[in-house]
């Protein structure tokens, strides 16, 4: 631990935590020029093998993700947590290369805290949404190399407008606010269809559903995705591995207890 007590130049800006990390060699620098992936690597298409879904319901926004981590056709890990808490009201769910994604979540989490502590005010909601976008943008070099694609979803509660907000991103950092739902990962086409159908033609749109109905829908949608997509983990009942389901509401973040998921699953899904 060391520091230079006299800031001679004002770069990086004192509130830019990623910049501070780069200064200390703790985070990869932004490449000045982008080079495409070498020909050898192009045989392996970049995958973001996972299923993440998020939708707004009566209490706020629900974010759910399966637990499987894969490398090509290998299952590497069956207890991965892809829905990460960034602060009291914000969740980031990740599809993509785990090493990059978890590091990004870690930088983001520390950035928000660092901003609050150093600037003595909470980062605005737009600022937070943009911060993730910038991390993705800075990661473009790795995306081009085909080794670090991350496609996240960001869910947070807007305390000023008293409403939950949901954003999805592309791998280059463009951000989009979702009106009703968002999905990412290899299982997302199936999930998107399910959510669209449920939202449009079922008895009640997603936004009107209560918590238990919402959790059940998430479990069913993930099960649907796992049916066709090998990279999405289903429920492992022997190992008692259930998807991660988290809810962002005006109260903060709630993680659905495994017991409740198990009960719902036994009763209504399998």
């Amino acid at each position: 631990m060391e520091f230079s007590p006299i800031r001679t130049a004002l770069a990086p800006a004192p509130e830019d935590f990623a910049g501070l990390l780069r200064n200390r060699g703790l985070y990869p620098p932004v490449p000045a020029a982008l080079s495409p992936a070498p020909a050898v690597a192009s045989g392996v298409p970049p995958t973001h093998a996972t299923t993440i879904l998020a939708f707004k319901f009566a209490d706020g926004v629900l974010v759910a993700g399966d637990r499987r981590a894969t490398a090509g056709n290998l299952v590497v890990y069956d207890r991965a947590d892809k829905v990460l808490e960034i602060d009291k009201f914000s969740l980031m769910a990740i599809a993509g290369v785990p090493a990059t994604a978890w590091e990004m979540a870690r930088v983001l989490e520390h950035s928000f805290q660092f901003y609050r502590r150093s600037q003595l005010q909470e980062m605005s909601l737009d600022g937070k949404v943009r911060a993730l976008s910038k991390l993705l943008r800075d990661n473009l070099g790795f995306v081009m190399q085909g080794v670090g694609v991350v496609v996240p979803i960001f869910a947070t509660y807007d305390l000023e407008a008293s409403t939950a907000r949901l954003y999805f991103y592309d791998a280059m950092g463009a951000q989009f606010e979702a009106a009703d739902f968002a999905a990412t990962g290899s299982g997302s086409p199936a999930v998107r269809s399910v959510l669209h159908y449920e939202n449009t033609w079922s008895a009640r749109p997603l936004a009107k559903r209560k918590q238990e109905e919402a959790v059940l829908l998430a479990l069913r949608a993930l099960d649907t995705a796992a049916e066709a997509d090998t990279a999405t983990g289903g429920v492992d009942r022997r190992g008692r591995v259930y998807p991660i389901v988290k809810i962002v509401s005006s109260e903060g973040i709630t993680t659905m207890p495994e017991k409740q998921l198990a009960r719902l699953f036994r009763k209504h899904v399998a």
């Binding site: 631990m1 060391e2 520091f3 007590p5 006299i6 800031r7 004192p14 935590f17 501070l20 990390l21 200390r24 703790l26 009291k88 870690r106 930088v107 520390h110 805290q113 660092f114 609050r116 502590r117 150093s118 003595l120």
Partner: protein
Amino acid sequence: MIEEPYRWVEAIANRREYIEHQLAGGSPIAALNYHDGILLFTLGRERQKIFEIYDRIAMGGIGHPGDIERLRMAAIEVTSTEGFARSAQDVSLRRLANYSLSPILKAAFEQVYGPPFLSRLLFAELNRGDGPNLFLRVDYDGSIHTNGGTFSRAFENFGVISGTNASTGRMEQFLHGKALANLSLEKALRLALDAWTVGHLTLGEDPGAEMPSAEQIDKHRGEQLASTSIEAAVLERTSVLPITWRALPDADVRPLFTTDSSL
């Protein structure tokens, strides 16, 4: 001229006198244990003086705002990068003060051609286990005074800083021996206010004067409360998040002092 040893000693002594003079008006800050953690407290009207540094570390500072700001930013940068590169558990106040802040402060103080830091800092760290909380005072010359909490044996359950040594001593004398461990937040706030009042009353006093009486404290407390803002924050052990800091706004704390002034 400075190259002669005697001149150097003289220059340091002058510098010390100058800094002490600059700090002499600084409003005291008191930090003390209570049932759920640590309370930090001061009264003021100019600017914020109590800050969050990391998950379990808070800081109070008196002196020049520019210097406090530089040290505060440095402390946040050091702890945040350590927390990121290793883990939040690896961030410790002992390391921050001994390895980062103290050498820098000492160097700045003794290099007589450069500017010293016109500031006196108070740090508090909430312990993770059953051990005592650490309170630590870092002075402009890099000297560190602790409550002993580093060695799992705390001699005091509080830490204070004030503009003068006499006043700091008075505050310590006032808080010494008080049973703080099971104090409710409300009682801790009242005790902290009294400790602040003692410190503020004795800022200009001669070292030989007596401890202010209870009436003097009562009177001075009332006068000061009317003309200043309350600044208070806690590091709470009961927090569900890793972040333990919570600021207590003036509007929430003030009713405690105005409804019933007796302890």
